[in-house]
Amino acid sequence: MNKLAGNGRRFRLFGLRKKHDERDVQDEYQLLTVRQLMIRKFLRNRMALLSFIALVIIYLVTLLAGFFAPYTARDADSKLTYSPPMAIRLQDPETGHFHLPFFYPLRGKRNMETFQLEYVEERAKRIPIQFFVRGEPYLALGVIAWDVHLFGSSDPAERLHIMGSDVRGRDLFSRIIYGGQVSLSVGIFGVLITIAVGSVIGTLSGYYGGVFDNVVQRVIETIRSFPQLPLWMALAAAIPPQWPPEWVYAGIVVVLAFINWTGLSREARGLVLSLKERDYVHAAEASGASTARIVRVHLIPNMASHIIVTATLAVPVTILGESALSFLGIGVRPPMVSWGLLLNDAIKIQNIVLYPWTLFPGLFILVAVIAYNFLGDGLRDMVDPFSR
């Protein structure tokens, strides 16, 4: 066979086909700016988009906890301890008639054999659920005094617990919303510290190398050689018990960031090591650019998206960390509420059997953690908008 001719023909064909197929894609691709390409990439990842929306909603709800929660976190009713979730009904089970949303109040009765309080619905009393109901006063966003809640029982004497109540008769749903303020903000603040410390140290040690880098790397290796949870526990246990709850909260944030910054710092260092050998950095250096300029103009913009991805994926780790510590009783302390702390009610096996609704906070942890992970994945795709 004539090998040369064969090759020649294939080469020509290949060239033609390439031109044809790539034209439309190419043109559109070339018209978009980097940011547009990134946004388009992100929107293509459905799970990430969905997770993003879910997280926005969850954060909004916790931010406006007073409005969305029917009760405050401390509002107790000793007649309704460990009440099960109450059903929201539209239909009268006896007559079959439809009504606006309503519920039947629960009445506790002591079972004389097991000595458990057992709840039965009082069918005689239909209590409508009211939207924008006036109830407990609260401070919206911490400043505006208000008493309107999104929904609630129309009768202040008959309380509505859609996710049940705890040992002191406090509404679990409301407590979960307030707990989210702590659990979710620990994630954000912890990661902000992680970014600030990790990226600065990582960038410096990658850019300058030498003794500083060596010392930093050994420190990081030492911190990382401990298993994460026990180290967190040891550090959290060192927080003085007499501290006020706000300090403990800050302490927990710092403890959680203490391990996370090492991962981010390594990421930043690796990025800098690779970016500083790019020719555009060399070109800037050959033109006499200062180190500050190179970091600001060339390194940070090219690192930012990677850092954001790593940080996003560090948020769920931090949330889980806080939950674990609080669950074990060495995290945030009452009267603060957090999801981990609420889950502490389910620490005893008989409670899970008798009051399974005490596991609801775990569901929220799960949703938040999964959503952050999907979001992180979506952002990761977005980081390199030029790959298709």
Partner: protein, 356 residues
């Protein structure tokens, strides 16, 4: 010898005995266990307005020389005298601050426009970067200058707000050219500026470079890994092997009368393009040796088909030929062996006639 002595007035850069040995560090304590002798005692002059080709196989140290000249690297030893308005300055010794004014005069053009342009910056900002760094002109003046440059390199001012990914490879390299020229340098180190481009646009970029040279009176050091690229653009060619110069000669002489066996080997590796031409190809055997432990004597002796005993023990100095001071060669056998030219003077005439 005082610094100004013995340097002709037409010399823009005079390099003497340049060495760059990269330390090899190993172990936990990062002890230096050896050196990569990337550039090992190189001397040459660059004349104002010329294009000096620098050719050699991969790993021979071409980029390292270029990066020493633009002072991305500080040479281990050696002198690099650069002609400024205030006379000759040894740029090998200057510190970061002292280099600042010199950097306006020497720029580098990089091989791969994909990695030499920051994907997050707009074309206009990329080209204006050197102006920005040296705080030249107002923002409006800079913009006008960049738009002029864009027109000059054949892109058009409307490219100002584009991002690199929105351009083709050839267009990107034109942006690289515009950036290198934006602060009006006098010396440009072109490090394989067309190797990463499609064959069809290589010629365009080379033409652009030579047009700009004529127009702006630039001096180029043009790095390439094979002789065919430098043939058209260079006035003189330096052939480099394993950190050392093997031969320096006017381009025409390199092709018509190579004097170093390595030059002959490089010529042999380019297909002949003369009418009906046909040549027996002698392909260089083996790989380039490691620059960590370069061979004794002449570094090329391990691959040289003419090597004799003296080549293994004594390092030949780079010296002018007795009958031709324009050509310098580092070979013990330069006057003994006759090497095969790429084409004879006769063939060259035919070729030129064809091209015209």
């Amino acid at each position: 010898m005082t610094p100004t002595e013995a340097v002709g007035a037409d010399v823009i850069l005079e390099v003497r005995d340049l060495r760059l040995h990269f330390p090899i560090k190993a172990g936990l304590l990062k002890k230096t266990v050896g050196y990569v002798k990337a550039v090992d005692g190189v001397s040459f002059s660059v004349y104002a307005g010329e294009t000096l080709g620098l050719v050699g196989e991969s790993g021979s140290g071409k980029t390292t020389i270029g990066r020493c000249i633009v002072r991305l690297y500080k040479p281990t030893t050696g002198i690099m005298r650069f002609r400024t308005k205030a006379g000759l300055v040894n740029i090998a010794e200057l510190d970061k601050r002292e280099l600042q004014p010199i950097r306006r005069d020497i720029q580098m053009l990089f091989q791969d426009p994909n990695s030499s342009l920051n994907a997050r910056m707009r074309v206009g900002d990329i080209i204006a970067e050197p102006l920005d760094i040296h705080a030249i002109g107002t923002a409006a003046e800079r913009r006008t200058r960049v738009e002029d440059l864009l027109e000059h390199v054949g892109l058009g001012a409307e490219m100002y707000n584009r991002f690199p990914h929105q351009l083709s490879g050839g267009q990107r390299q034109r942006v690289g050219v515009a950036r290198a020229l934006s602060i009006e340098p006098r010396l440009v180190i072109c490090d394989e500026p067309v190797s990463a481009l499609d064959v069809s646009v290589q010629a365009q970029v080379l033409n652009l470079l030579s047009d700009l040279q004529e127009e702006l009176g630039l001096t180029y050091v043009f790095i390439a890994h094979d002789l065919s690229v430098v043939e058209y653009i260079s006035d003189r060619v330096m052939v480099m092997y394993l950190g050392k110069l093997m031969e320096t000669a006017p381009t025409r002489k390199i092709f018509e009368r190579p004097t170093h066996p390595y030059t002959e080997a490089l010529l042999n590796s380019i297909p002949k393009r003369i009418r009906g031409g046909h040549r027996k190809r002698y392909v260089l055997a083996g790989d380039i040796p490691s620059p960590v432990n370069p061979p004794s004597g002449c570094v090329f002796h391990t691959r040289c088909q003419y090597a004799k005993d003296i080549c293994k023990t004594e390092t030949p100095p780079l010296q002018p030929l007795p009958d031709d001071p324009e050509t310098s060669v580092a070979c013990h056998l330069a006057e003994e062996v006759t090497l095969q030219p790429y084409y004879t003077a006769e063939e060259r005439r035919v070729l030129e006639a064809d091209r015209a």
